[in-house]
Symmetry: C2
Subunit: 131 residues, 2 copies
Amino acid sequence: MTRLPLNTRITPSRKAMIDIFASTDHPLSAVQMHKLLKRLNINANITTVYRELEFLLNHTVIHKIDISGATTYYESSEGDHHHHAICTSCGNIQDVTISDEEAFLTNVRKPHDFTIKRHSVEFYGHCGTCN
Amino acid sequence: MTRLPLNTRITPSRKAMIDIFASTDHPLSAVQMHKLLKRLNINANITTVYRELEFLLNHTVIHKIDISGATTYYESSEGDHHHHAICTSCGNIQDVTISDEEAFLTNVRKPHDFTIKRHSVEFYGHCGTCN
DNA sequence: TATATAATGCAAATGAGTTGCATTAATAAT
DNA sequence: ATTATTAATGCAACTCATTTGCATTATATA
Ligand SMILES: [Mn+2]
Ligand SMILES: [Mn+2]
Ligand SMILES: [Zn+2]
Ligand SMILES: [Zn+2]
């Protein structure tokens, strides 16, 4: 929850994107966000969407969900730390938590002198409807 | 270690790529592999390299290392299961093992009805020389 | 109301990876 | 050894996500 810089201007697309991320539990791609904005009659350019995603990432309002060989998704940084399960058949993304993630991290035998800043954990497989 | 199909032809670039992966502990990108082949006087087209990587992936000779916002790397499937630490400053990739990974997996609270086929774990931060 | 500059639109560029198609070459069959 | 089959390849063109340069617009501030 870093504060946004004081020189940050509240533009319609920025406000809308922040609101959308805050009010949905579902990850979104840049293109999906672009379409959502259109539906709200906010006709931002896709470039603007990408730039705003970058901005929100930089200020930890959102974070990335990297999917192997596919488009990047983004979701709000609100809520507890968690990871994702991605269906390789339909692309469906679901939340995954690791109970006692502390223990998991202490079991990581990281390279000598490596300082871990963040980690990324994804599970790939088939969701209920694709099984 | 799935067998390669019986109709698989042993071409110079295929043999070289298999050998290279088998004899190095270092992950390689498609472009790096392409350059390595050149140095061995094997002038395969970059398309051929991509196609061969796909082939070797399909037959589990190698596997992917997905790096957030960067080029994909590949490494041999030989050796014990492990993960990676990626330096966000210099791109250096190092192996990471999780002791008692069994425990880690049993602590994963996966979505109901989701069948996990594989998982991906990466650590991002700064390596020794970039600290 | 005027000013500074953050944000935007648009077109063009980038970069990784993919695809279609004609050609070549590894292997099996004769 | 020769021929036939088809896997593998080269090349150019393409796709797709994302980025960049630059001129223009609009938000916040004075
Ligand atoms: Mn999530
Ligand atoms: Mn490795
Ligand atoms: Zn599914
Ligand atoms: Zn480094």
